[in-house]
Amino acid sequence: MSSPNFKFKEKYVIDRVQFGVLSPSEIRKMAKVTVVVPQLYEADGSPVAGGLRDPNFGAIEPGERCPVCGNTREECPGHFGKIDLARPVIHPGFGDIIHSLLQATCRQCGRLKLPPERIAYLLNLIRRLRRRWPVLARQLAKEIKREAAQVMECPHCGTRQFKIRYTRPIYFYEERPEGEVRLTPINIRDRLERIPDDHIELLGLDPKRARPEWMVLTALPVPPLAVRPSITLETALKAEDDLTHALNEIVRTNLALREQLLGGSPESIVEAAWDRLQQLVAAYVDNELPNVGQITYKRKRPLKLLAQRLKGKEGRLRGNLSGKRVNFSARTVISPDPNISINEVGVPVDIAKILTIPMRVTPDNIEEARKFVVNGPDVWPGATHVYKADEDRKIDLRYNRNWKQLAESLKPGDYVERHLVNGDIVLFNRQPSLHRMSIMGHIVRVMSGRTFRLNLLVCPPYNADFDGDEMNLHVPRSEDAMAEARELLLVEKHILTPRYGGPIIGGRQDYISGAYLLTIKTTLLSKEEVVRILAATDYVGEMPEPAIIKPKPMWTGKQMISLHLPNDMNFRGKAKINAGNLMCGSIDCMNDSIVVVKNGKLLMGVLDKKGIGAEEPQNILHIMALEYGHNTVKNFLDNVFRMFIRVLEVKGLTVSYGDLEIPKEAREKIMKKIEEARNEVRKLIDEYRKGTLETLPGRTPEESLELRIIDVLNRLRDEAGSIAISYLDAFNDVFVMARTGARGSDINITQMSAMLGQQSVRGQRISRGFRTRTLPHFEQNDLSPEGRGFVSHSFVEGLRPTEVFMHAGAGREGLVDTAVKTSQSGYMQRRLINALQDLVVSYDGTVRDSYGNIVQFRYGEDGADPMLTYHGKPVDIDRIIESVRLHKVSIDSRKEVRK
């Protein structure tokens, strides 16, 4: 479709770009100005003819007509100028190439220093190679160069050759027997001119588009003004672009050199000026070259010249061509909303009024379009612009406030630039965009407030939380962009991740605790509670049969889940709590730690992280997504998970200091363990001091001692932890959270209730600080646990000052590590993407790069899509056997999904 914003329909598309070196005649031909005057402006402020701001460079002021092409600044493409250099200079970018050409060819006759037969043979070879294997052709050229460079006597004319020494980027010396002689650009140009075309080809260059003598400049192109605009400061002074400053220097020096040449100055003075010109031209191309003085502004800031404009992350290529700034996007803080669907995003009204979508007026939607126009730009849902097709005119509703009349005049074919409304699709993104789930399609829901709202279940793919995170929103505006977004990018199409074949969207934290509390055996719900919990979902239907009838009807939490499962679903899996004293091997499980769903009924097992959590392959969500489709999962996530939160509202989940305190008895047990470990360590140290400690093979006695001590102390921490945990109540919420995987781990509980344990830096006990000890609180050379960072207290008890210090040390290491890791892994990922991005599966099932080279004959050796696998396996035969044997129905539903 085309809309007023895309009126520049692709008239021309870039097909190819040919690279080459400009010849002096081309430079002269395209130049509309020859710059000879270093002054920019006359006294009255008008540009000097023949200066760097000559009007012939192209129109840049509004209303100005270009004297060359007659266009205004919108149409005028800008025109190049030139500086005729008084003496030739080396182009610094081609220094390396010139060097290899000088080395490989004869200093006398200019031919490649190889026998004629060999040249003929190689020429044939390289021409054939270049078509199919450009990389190999490049390598061959390098080989030829190396071979020819070693010849010290020309096979054609017999002239003796000398070594060429090259100082980057512009100085060349010939090591003659009488001593080293500098080759001037004139000498070099002479030599390069003599090289025959065929021989240039052998060295990997294109003689038609890049004759080597063109790499020595005799005329310097001057870019048009549009490339180097000047800005007018408030003080009415004009500030010129860096390029203009540098060019100005070149013009001055060139002029001085010319005068010296005309005036017949002594050679040494001419040489000095010539070298200065050479240096300036080199710096003009790249202002960061070695052995070339930088051009600076007022002797301070180095100018940003040609190479600097292209290079680096903010340079033209990476900053403006590979990545661009866009319109129709928004960014603000995110906050949670568990009541919207996972594929929705709450958009603040203020933003909805700025982001717009072009709406083509048709007979069917003309009334709708009129409503938008009548509302104007300030009332949501309104419109900002109207495009009248027959007048070919865009009307801004902010200035033309005759909205009623405009609405009346709408005709099919017009466009209305309308506000974002509920149901539109947008792209939502959180940086760093590490995988494709970092940009997903969401359905707009306009809301009051100033933040984007998103469902908590989509936090895992974005890796988002709400401690101040900001996210970006982009509006697709063309019909095909919107269609693609709906077909490919919607959140529910990314529930499964291609990384490992499993769901990446799913519950975390409170959702897990809620699910657990709802599904444990002890949860029995009264009628009121059932109604309250079910009200969180869109369930419509009869109350299920109560599980218990007397003394009063009661329902189990599992029944609530079953109401929302597809009624032919089967599932079997272990729960996260299936560990420790709740371990169950077989299906005869008294601990409720094996989950069984049969015919859509949750028969046994609690739902915890393994059952409904994010990033847990082969859980209920995964099976549901593969066999019932993403819409089923989406509805399940939208309804059931809201129920889990409601359960917490009913039952409560809270943690206090008391939950972490352990009884005196347990504390005493731990103290005993600590004492034992201390003695053990003391013994080890004694043995070490006596020299009787058994060393580990290949380790020094010191290392052996450290490894042993660390081993003892880590064991101590684990033992203390398990003592503490064994004294915790089964309904203790800290314990519940750790066991179900909602938040926290055994180690966290250990550190809060029992002890922090050994603190380590770089995998070793803390040993640095003062010369012979970690802190002045300890004796010198103290190897005891405390002296080396062992913390025997818990967070509940409180830490001693030295312990706090050690703990902070270990904590700091963690912070530094994360900082280092992000930069390193970011760079690695950039390289991986650059290396692999062209690989695509073709219609014959092979993986090819963009030139058709086959990298894999069958993707992944089996052709399966990792996203659609059961954790790597494309088909789960056991599940198929089970469904075929027991439940014919589910086969039918699988067929349904595939359609």
Binding site: V13, I14, V17, Q18, F19, G20, F94, V135, G204, L205, D206, A210, M215, L317, L321, S322, L434, H435, R436, E484, L488, P498, R499, Y500, P697, G698, L707, R762, G763, K821, Q824, G826, M828, Q829, L832, N834, A835, L836, Q837, D838, V840, V841, G845, V847, Y851, Y859, G860, G863, A864, D865, P866, L868, T869, P874, V875, I880, I881, V884, K895, R898
Partner: protein, 420 residues
């Protein structure tokens, strides 16, 4: 349905399945059909058909940008990886680079891993015998004179060099006095003999050639000679710094772990099972066993690193990385000097790392940018040739007429530019 209904029987269905399914899946299917008891024939047919249907539904689609997906799948968990070196699989004797640094090393195709190591399995005769295993380990360990020396003494101006050996170290390393004598013979320092009083002391009389008269009082000459003696080769394989034996608690066999790697030499040692020798030096594998083996090694090592950090990445992504690194027949680095550097596109290379150098080279060689890849296409504002960019959408005239009764539509209206 794979086969028309009237011809359905288990054999024909299975035959069709064999053609369609990957081999390991087909084998699994056949095994399961045989193992599971009480399946009727019709059920079996249904199972085979459903397996095929499921597999086809789970196949990758043409146009899928698998390269980008692989790169993201390996890169994304990078932030969750560890930075430090750890003991290899419970072996406290070794520190082995794991986590992010090792992963970067692999994709960098570094010539030598920062912590090279080998795992050597023994053949039947030696496997279960601790003594024999130890003997082999000793044969592997590269030992220089330095490792078993107690001291070397000399008096300036005197031609006698007194070498004292460390008995314990010799036993530990499995070196004999004979080895030392052989080594000294090779060094050609002059006459030497074992001391009469102590069998662990050897006296060497330096010859005129090694110590000319004019240097008789030059300390530097003496220290040079001592260094030479210290570095003298006794036994073992170059590059193997240490060899340690571990008994596998499950199989009861002895396995040798080495610090340092030299595949070429190690496979020649008698008594080791050359088919099972592993090393983490990928270039060595490519040199000795070929590029296919190197590809497998890359896959194996990346999996090893990822699983060690507890990360879960589908093997298909890792295979793709290994394939792009090796498909040319040589190991190529992921980066400027390898895969990216070999690209033909000027702009893709310029947008990657060394911008200006690439542009100048392109100019000199008269390169043509054809906008075939992703980066180039984005730069030129073209649709990249991946995903929906690989196909052309068009609307048939007849269809438009039917829908809108529009009369003037010329042939096909292509919304997208056609790509060759």
């Amino acid at each position: 349905m794979i086969i028309e209904d009237n011809k359905r029987n288990l054999d024909s269905v299975l035959k069709a399945a064999e053609e369609l399914l990957p081999r390991n899946l087909y084998e699994e299917l056949v095994n399961k059909l045989n193992e599971v008891p009480n399946l009727t024939k019709n059920e079996k047919i249904e199972i085979v058909e459903e397996t095929v249907r499921d597999f086809i539904a789970h196949m990758i689609q043409p146009g899928e940008p698998v390269g980008t997906i692989a790169a993201q799948s390996i890169g994304e968990p990078g932030t969750q990886m560890t930075l430090r070196t750890f003991h290899y699989a419970g072996l406290i004797e070794f520190d082995v680079t794991l986590g992010l640094p090792r992963l970067i090393e692999i994709v960098d195709a570094k010539r030598e891993p920062s912590t090279p190591m080998m795992i050597i399995y023994l053949d039947e005769r030696y496997k279960y015998d601790g003594e024999k295993a130890k003997e082999i380990a000793r044969r592997l360990e590269y030992t220089m004179m330095e490792n078993i020396l107690d001291s070397i003494n000399y008096i300036i101006g005197d031609r006698t060099l007194t070498i004292t050996l460390d008995k314990d170290m010799m036993e530990d390393k499995g070196a004999t006095t004979q080895m030392v004598l052989d080594a000294l013979k090779r060094l050609k320092l002059g006459e030497f003999e074992i001391d009469e009083e102590n069998p662990y002391v050897i006296n060497v009389t330096l010859s005129e050639k090694v110590l000319p008269d004019e240097y008789l009082y030059d300390i530097k000459t003496y220290t040079n000679i001592v260094d030479k003696v210290k570095r003298a080769y006794l036994k073992g394989i170059k590059g193997i710094r240490r060899a340690i034996i571990r008994k596998d608690s499950r199989t009861g066999e002895y396995i040798i772990y080495t610090d340092g790697s030299n595949l070429e030499e190690v496979i020649r040692i008698r008594g080791i099972d050359y088919r099972k020798v592993r090393t983490n030096n990928i270039h060595e594998i490519a040199r000795v066993l070929g590029i296919e083996a190197a590809r497998n090694a890359i896959i194996e090592q990346i999996i090893d690193v990822l699983s060690n950090s507890g990360l879960d990445v589908d093997i298909r992504h890792i295979m793709l990385v290994a394939d792009i690194m090796t498909w040319t027949g040589k190991i190529r680095q992921i980066g400027r000097l390898g895969v990216v550097g070999d690209k033909t596109s000027v702009l893709a290379k310029a947008a990657y790392e060394v911008t200006t150098k690439n542009l100048f080279e392109a100019a000199a060689s008269g390169a043509i940018e054809e906008f075939m890849g992703v980066t180039e296409s984005i730069i030129a504002g073209l649709e990249p040739p991946t995903g929906t960019g690989t196909i052309v959408t068009g609307v048939a005239r007849s269809l438009i007429r039917k829908l809108n009764e529009v009369k003037e539509v010329n042939e096909f209206e292509f919304e997208h530019r056609e790509r060759a």
